[in-house]
């Protein structure tokens, strides 16, 4: 039984289940934060699966998701600026969760793959993921002042 796939299953079941519950119920600000959290968790699950299936080429999926996940959150932050203006989401709790989990997963994977080009790629994915999430939660909690301008 592959430990990496077990970790991915647990992260998927618990993490994605919680974010799905978060995005389905509650005020709009919590739903947007849950959507942002779901992309970060999915990126970590993809990294674990790439290691579990012993297929380095699956890391490309995590790379694209680490890039486009925060872009999706920027879309929501930008176009829902009016709806979020009066009740800005405080996204710092989940962001620290993502930063912690991301750092842990990426270091574990780098240790497993050893010093090579592949672990350099993993570090790039980890950096993009953490940087993207910090900026996305910054954008959510008031990046766009939501004034009525083009």
């Amino acid at each position: 039984m592959n430990g990496w796939i077990l970790a991915a299953t647990v992260a998927l079941g618990a993490g994605a289940g919680a974010t799905l519950w978060g995005v389905a119920t509650g005020p709009l600000r919590r739903r947007v934060v849950a959507q942002n959290l779901s992309t970060a968790l999915a990126c970590l699950v993809l990294l674990l699966l790439a290691q579990g299936y012993d297929r380095p080429s699956y890391v490309d999926l995590a790379l694209v998701l680490a890039l486009l996940g925060p872009v999706g959150t920027l879309v929501f932050a930008r176009l829902l600026a009016d709806d979020l203006a009066e009740d800005p989401p405080r996204a710092w709790g989940p962001t620290y969760l993502v930063v912690g989990a991301g750092a842990a997963v990426v270091t574990a994977l780098c240790v497993a793959t050893g010093p090579s080009r592949a672990s350099a790629k993993l570090l790039v994915v980890g950096a993009l993921l953490i940087g993207g999430n910090v900026v996305a939660s910054r954008a959510l909690s008031g990046g766009f002042s939501g004034l009525r301008r083009g």
């Binding site: 299936y53 297929r55 380095p56 080429s57 699956y58």
Partner: protein, 119 residues
């Protein structure tokens, strides 16, 4: 337990398709209806890829695996699902353009109100 897993993916695909059709039929907003249609389309991806799966196999991409060293999954259904995803996105865009036109001409996006407005 294994008897269920032999048919679970197909049943999930059927469930997603039916729930999408239910949403499409009972929607009170055309934008919501377009979202339900993309849910229906997601059912086809799940069914296609479930048909092509092989136990203990890996992806038929040999950039980092020696050809023939591991059993591989069916690539033909993956090619079908791949173009299905991209076409689905552009068809959703075309439908949303139609919704914008309906909103411009009739001022509403509620399908029930539309049927009352003539012309």
């Amino acid at each position: 337990m294994t008897a269920v897993t032999h048919v679970l993916p197909y049943l999930v695909a059927v469930w997603i398709f039916l729930i999408g059709c239910y949403g499409l039929a009972t929607s009170r907003n055309l934008i919501h209806a377009v979202g339900c249609l993309s849910v229906c389309q997601a059912a086809t991806y799940v069914l296609l890829l479930a048909v092509g799966y092989r136990d203990g196999a890996t992806a038929p991409v040999f950039s980092d695996v020696e050809p023939g060293s591991r059993p591989v999954v069916d690539p033909v259904v993956q090619a079908l699902a791949l173009t299905d995803v991209v076409v689905g996105a552009t068809v959703t865009a075309l439908l949303l353009a139609l919704v914008v036109q309906v909103a411009k001409r009739h001022g509403t996006v509620d399908p029930d109100e539309l049927s009352e407005l003539r012309g």
